[in-house]
Structure formats: structure tokens, C-alpha cells
């Protein structure tokens, strides 16, 4: 009986021009977004691969020079993207795409697309995820709002109830019918986007970006299915309880505006109000102050430098730096860097923790809007959330620390017996040292890490699912209350 009802709903829905046209619009927007996203992804990937290679070549072929000078020359780390990023760009526009790694400084990732964008763009570019997160819910609401309320108005519900149809079966049949109609729109979407993705992303066997790809894809599909099912259950419940189909539609569109548009924006603002991030100026000031106590490797006449030298000489029981078994300046550079590591850990670590706190606040708003939970999970699984950007930043910084340590160690070991000036500027290292610094490598977080970080959103989405179906179950008893 449920199947019969579902089939009839599908037939009626397809014969109703409104759904067909809305569905066609959603389909066209989705495949356009996926097509554009996939093309942009493959272009970005090609650019990134070329740039990575060029930067590595430049590093290796920078010629013979002082290792510290090479440290100032630095390298660039390019943020890789997982293939799902073309579907959901997430926060990518607000997190930088490359990070400059050099001596003395921890830089933040730069080149954020949002810096070139207008305020309007905060509502998001057209992406596959946006079509699924905002437009598909609208389609579900348009599909479901009249399923019971409309039949009540048309009088067919009386006819139906006089047939002896159990209310619960009627409701499940309607839900299944909504699922079928949605499938008619979404299955071609998935099929076409799979073909597009395969065309644009073929040959992307890069093990770094493909970490747990099948598992991530499976979970993201599940997340959207749960999201759609919750919304359909909610919409059907409203259709049962509303006084008229117009009232049901109004209530659902209202929910869409508040939960789909307002709360996600508001959650970002509230999270910033609760956990403010310092300005770039404040940040520079904190770092400056923190590093003041350093040995000032470049400034031999600075009191800190003199004090540090005195301490080292006493430690080794020698009178002159030239008598040390290693190069003093190499040691001083490293000591300066190590103080820097501590300062950066405190300041940037603090900022990353603030971002994570903001993220938690945003996730909390999922309790009021399933759109927030789905947005969080979708961007996390697509590798475009704040965590991913933080992971990349941290990987860049630990690469930088390794790089400067290798360079300073080389000065320390090989620039012995040289004066301060000649050790800093006279000692030349060559390609064999540059080769000791490995190419930058970043592994995106695996599925377990991602799920672990987003347990709250998973829980919230599950809550919406059980809540939606619980409400539908309770509402089903009221199907015939206004006959």
C-alpha cells in the first residue's frame, strides 16, 4: 500500500509542471556548479603542480650561498585540495592558498580569494554544495508542503480515508513518494556530476589528496541523505498540522529563510563576538615583544647578543667564539629561531585555538538549524573547513622549523673558525645542502580525524533526523483531525 501511494505521488508530481520546472532548474544549476567547480579544481591543481615544481627547482638551483641567506630566500608551501573541494569550496575563500616559509617568521597562509570579493559574496558562490544545501531544501519544501494539506483542501483526503487507508501507511507512502520524486531530480545530478568529475579529475592518483577518498565520498552522500530525509519529515509534519497548504508553505519558507540563511550567518558573527581574533597589528606587536629577549644573531653589538655570547663562552670555558668547536653564529641563529618557535606557538597556536573555539560555537548553532550541521560536515569532508586550513598551516610551520634547523645546523658545523661577519656572509653552502631539505608534503586529515572533530555536528544531524521522524510519527495521528 505504501508503494502504491508512493507511485501515485510520483506520477502526480511529475505531471505537475511546477515540480518539473523547479527540478530542471536545480539540475541545471547543480551540473553547472559541478562543471565550473571541477574545471576550476583541475586548473588550480595544474597551476599548483607547476608552481610547486618551479619553486622546488628554484630552491635547489639557488646557487652557492650562505645557508641563512637561503633561509631568507625561503620556499612556498601550496595548499593541496582534495577532489571533493570542487563540490564544496567551504571556507576556502577565507583561508589562504599558499604559505611563505622563511627564516625568523611564521607567516600565515595568504592569497585569500575573499580579499578581492565584495561583501555580497559572503552569501556564497554557486557551488554543488550550495545547490544541495540551499536550493534542494527549497525543492523538498515545494514538493511536500501540499502532500497532506493540499489533499485535505481538495477533499481527496476524505475519499482516501473512506477507503480504509491507515494513517501511518498514508504518511509513509507520502514520504516514500517524496523520496522517489527527489530521486528523479538528484540521481541524474549525481550521475552527470560523476561523469564531469571523472573527465576533469582523471589522472589524479595523487596519494596525498586521495586520502580516504571513497570513505569521505560515502559519508558525504550519507550526510546529505540524512539532511534531506530530516527536511522531508519536517515538511510533511508541517503539511499535516497546518490549517491550509498556504500556511504550510509559508511556515516552511520561513524556516528556510531563518535556518538556511540567517542562522548560518548569525552563527559566524556570534562566534566572532564570543571569541575575537586579534588584528594583524596586535599580532605583530605581540610577536615583536615576545622576540625581544632573543640573542639578536644579526646584531653583534646588541646587549642580548653580547650576553648570549658571554653565556656560551662560559659554558664551553673558552675566551673567544673562534675557539668554540662549532660556529657561534649558527648556534645564535638557532637559539633565536627556537625562541621564535615558542612565541609563534603561543600567538599563532592561540589564534588557531580561537578558530577552533569559533568553530565549536558555529557547530552549536546546528541545534537550531540542520543547515549549519550539514555545512560543517560537508566542508570538513571536502577538506575545505577551518581545521583543514589549520592543519595545512601547522604542516607548513613544522616544515619551516625543520628547514631552518637544517640550515642553522649546517652553519654551526661547517662555518667553524670564521669570524662573525664571514660566518654570516662568507660561508657558502651548495646544492647538496639544499637537497637535504625535503620537498613540502602535506597529508590531508583522514576520515577518522574528520569524524572525530565533528562528532557534535554528526550528533546534531542525527538529532534532526530522529526529531523529524518523531514529529512525523506523532503528526500522522492527526492526518484525519480536520476532515
Amino acid at each position: 500500500m505504501i508503494w502504491r501511494i508512493a507511485q501515485k505521488e510520483l506520477l502526480e508530481t511529475i505531471r505537475d509542471g511546477r515540480f518539473v520546472w523547479t527540478g530542471v532548474v536545480v539540475f541545471v544549476l547543480f551540473i553547472t556548479a559541478i562543471g565550473v567547480g571541477a574545471q576550476r579544481y583541475s586548473e588550480d591543481r595544474a597551476l599548483r603542480q607547476v608552481a610547486e615544481q618551479e619553486d622546488r627547482e628554484l630552491w635547489l638551483n639557488q646557487g652557492d650561498k650562505g645557508p641563512h641567506s637561503a633561509g631568507h630566500y625561503g620556499v612556498y608551501a601550496f595548499k593541496p585540495a582534495t577532489p571533493l573541494a570542487f563540490f564544496d569550496p567551504g571556507f576556502n575563500d577565507y583561508t589562504g592558498t599558499l604559505q611563505y616559509l622563511e627564516a625568523h617568521r611564521e607567516n600565515q597562509a595568504s592569497y585569500k580569494p575573499a580579499t578581492d570579493a565584495t561583501a555580497l559574496q559572503r552569501f556564497g558562490d554557486l557551488s554543488g554544495a550550495m545547490v544541495l544545501q540551499l536550493l534542494t531544501p527549497l525543492l523538498i519544501f515545494l514538493l511536500c508542503f501540499g502532500m497532506i494539506a493540499g489533499e485535505r483542501e481538495d477533499g481527496t483526503l476524505r475519499q482516501l480515508m473512506s477507503m480504509g487507508v491507515p494513517k501511518m501507511k498514508l504518511v509513509w507512502g507520502k514520504a516514500a513518494g517524496a523520496g522517489l520524486a527527489l530521486g528523479v531530480v538528484l540521481i541524474p545530478c549525481i550521475f552527470v556530476s560523476a561523469v564531469l568529475a571523472a573527465l576533469f579529475i582523471q589522472g589524479d592518483g595523487d596519494p596525498h589528496t586521495m586520502v580516504d577518498f571513497p570513505a569521505k565520498l560515502a559519508v558525504i552522500v550519507l550526510v546529505y541523505l540524512v539532511f534531506f530525509a530530516s527536511l522531508a519529515a519536517l515538511a510533511l509534519s508541517v503539511s499535516i498540522r497546518a490549517r491550509s497548504s498556504a500556511a504550510a508553505l509559508t511556515a516552511l519558507i520561513g524556516f528556510w529563510i531563518v535556518a538556511g540563511l540567517l542562522i548560518p550567518r548569525m552563527s559566524a558573527d556570534v562566534s566572532k563576538l564570543m571569541y575575537d581574533t586579534p588584528s594583524a597589528f596586535e599580532l605583530a606587536d605581540t610577536i615583536q615583544k615576545g622576540r625581544e629577549a632573543g640573542p639578536r644573531a644579526h646584531e653583534p653589538n646588541h646587549p642580548n647578543h653580547i650576553a648570549f655570547k658571554k653565556k656560551v663562552l662560559e659554558e664551553y670555558g673558552v675566551d673567544d667564539v673562534d675557539d668554540l668547536p662549532f660556529s657561534f653564529v649558527g648556534l645564535a641563529f638557532q637559539a633565536d629561531e627556537e625562541l621564535g618557535f615558542k612565541v609563534f606557538d603561543e600567538t599563532f597556536g592561540g589564534i588557531r585555538r580561537t578558530f577552533e573555539k569559533q568553530n565549536r560555537v558555529r557547530q552549536f548553532f546546528g541545534l537550531f538549524s540542520p543547515f549549519v550541521a550539514v555545512k560543517t560536515l560537508s566542508s570538513a569532508l571536502s577538506g575545505t573547513d577551518v581545521h583543514y586550513a589549520n592543519d595545512f598551516s601547522k604542516a607548513g610551520e613544522s616544515y619551516r622549523r625543520n628547514m631552518v634547523t637544517i640550515l642553522n645546523e649546517d652553519i654551526k658545523q661547517n662555518a667553524t673558525g670564521m669570524t662573525q661577519y664571514s660566518a654570516e656572509w662568507g660561508y657558502r653552502a651548495n646544492k647538496s645542502l639544499w637537497e637535504k631539505v625535503p620537498p613540502f608534503d602535506f597529508d590531508p586529515p583522514g576520515i577518522q580525524t574528520i569524524l572525530g572533530r565533528n562528532m557534535f555536528s554528526i550528533f546534531v544531524l542525527f538529532l534532526w533526523l530522529t526529531g523529524g521522524f518523531g514529529l512525523l510519527y506523532m503528526s500522522a495521528k492527526r492526518v484525519d483531525s480536520q476532515l
Binding site: 501515485k8 481538495d154 476524505r158 475519499q159 477507503m163 480504509g164
Partner: protein, 264 residues
């Protein structure tokens, strides 16, 4: 005889042979039965303790002005509304306790049969009879029901959106036929039908009653009630004020009686 005393203090069936036999038939196994059925809408008494029994093969016509309680009675038998007190039975089952089961025995035709306008007549019939548990009908079976109900040959494959009221009514009849119901609940089913369609409808009712179907029909058509009905009941302000066999009364008498009741 006593069973009608509470509801008919004006005119009782005469205790002649025929009447006695008919009453015996009614008591045997009433397919439609109301026991002290009351419906109170926040102080407005829509139905004041109705007692009624309709035997197999009987066509009971409920007459009365709008708001007299006819539709309330039918809605109570459909379990679309809950009685304040009393019970309604279909085929011996309490409709409140066995809401879904009792509907298997009955078919309901309202004043305007409501159908899915985007589906054809045939699709509507297939859907409704499928929901009633009759999955086994072939398209030919369904077409013959529509034909029997008097729907024009070319209509079953057209969408219901373009049907006239009469055609919708005929699909409603076909749904009832396909359901093989023992009980028909009809709420002014012929109002607005042309005399020919109305006549065809009456013929069908007579045919069904010969097959043992019990029919409860709310109507304003005194002529049809006398022609088709085996019994008529006159309702006023939620009370059944008269209950009689149609063969005991002529057209003119019925009309006079009806007007008398409406007058005071």
C-alpha cells in the same frame, strides 16, 4: 415495534403483516446501526441520540434541512468525527474501535466526488481500489466498472481535471462498485445531477440493494427518496423526527409530512 418508539412518536409503522415482516428483517442483522449516537459541538447539539438500524438490501433516505444532522450522521459512521456519546456500527463492528476495518465494508460518495485532477479516471479508480485492497483488477475490469457506472467510453483515459460533476460522480460510483462494499454512505450524491444521470444513479442503487447492500443516503430529493428508498427518515435539529416505509406513503403525503415537520 419498540425499537422505533424512541425515535418516532409521530407516526409508527402500522402493525400489518407486511410491516411486521419488514421489521423482523431489519432486526436480523443490521449492517448499519446507531445506538444513542450523540454529537455535541461545544454546546451546539448536532445530533441528539440517534438510534437507527438498516438491514441488508434496505435503502434508507435521510431527509431534512441543511444543518439537521444528516452529514454529521454520515461522518460519524465514517469515523471522520468522534461521537460525544453512543456508538456507530458497520457490519457489527464499532467504527471507533475498528476504524480501518469497518471502512473495508463501506463505500462513501459525497455530494462532489473529489479525485486527483492530474490523474485519469481510470488511474483514479485503480488507485482507490488498490488502496481498498483490490489489487487484482485488470484494466478491463476497471473499465467495466466505469462503464457500469455510466461513464462515457472515451472518458477513462482523460484526466479528471476536465470532468463534469456528473462524470466525477460516476467515477465515485465505480469506486464503490469496485470496492464491492456491503454498505453505501451517500451524502447528497445526486444534487446537481441532471434528471437522466440521477435516474441512472437510482437504478444502480436498486440493483445494489437487490444484491443485499445496505444504503444510507442523505438527500433533499423527496421524489427520489420515495421512488428509490425503502425507508425514509426525517431529521430536524439533530433528531430523527419520523421514520417510515416508503411503500406506506404516497408522494404527496410524503411532501406534506416533510413540510409539516419543517414548519414547527
Amino acid at each position: 415495534m419498540t425499537e422505533y418508539q424512541t425515535i418516532s412518536n409521530i407516526r409508527q409503522p402500522r402493525p400489518d403483516e407486511k410491516g411486521a415482516g419488514r421489521t423482523a428483517a431489519a432486526t436480523k442483522e443490521a449492517l448499519i446501526k446507531a445506538v444513542s449516537l450523540r454529537k455535541d459541538y461545544d454546546g451546539h447539539l448536532a445530533l441528539k441520540g440517534l438510534d437507527l438500524q438498516i438491514a441488508p438490501g434496505e435503502i434508507y433516505c435521510l431527509l431534512g434541512a441543511n444543518g439537521a444532522g444528516k452529514s454529521t450522521t454520515i461522518n460519524l459512521f465514517l469515523d471522520f468525527i468522534k461521537p460525544t456519546s453512543g456508538q456507530a456500527f458497520i457490519n457489527g463492528f464499532d467504527v471507533q474501535e475498528h476504524s480501518t476495518e469497518t471502512k473495508k465494508f463501506l463505500a462513501y460518495i459525497p455530494e462532489i466526488v473529489m479525485l486527483y485532477r492530474n490523474l485519469t479516471g481510470l488511474e483514479n479508480l485503480r488507485y482507490f481500489s488498490g488502496l481498498a485492497g483490490h489489487d487484482h483488477y485488470t484494466d478491463a475490469d476497471l473499465r467495466s466498472f466505469l462503464n457500469e457506472a455510466g461513464l462515457p467510453k472515451d472518458a477513462p483515459d482523460r484526466r479528471v481535471g476536465g470532468y463534469s460533476k456528473g462524470m466525477r460522480q460516476k467515477v465515485g460510483i465505480a469506486i464503490a462498485l469496485a470496492k464491492q462494499a456491503k454498505v453505501l454512505l451517500l451524502d447528497e450524491p445526486t444534487s446537481g445531477l441532471d434528471p437522466k444521470a440521477s435516474n441512472e444513479f437510482s437504478e444502480l442503487l436498486l440493483k445494489l440493494s437487490q444484491e443485499g447492500v445496505s444504503i444510507l443516503m442523505a438527500t433533499h430529493d423527496l421524489f427520489r427518496a420515495k421512488e428509490t428508498g425503502t425507508r425514509v427518515g426525517i431529521m430536524r435539529h439533530g433528531e430523527l423526527v419520523d421514520d417510515l416505509f416508503t411503500e406506506d406513503i404516497g408522494h404527496a403525503d410524503l411532501e406534506r409530512l416533510y413540510l409539516e415537520h419543517m414548519h414547527d
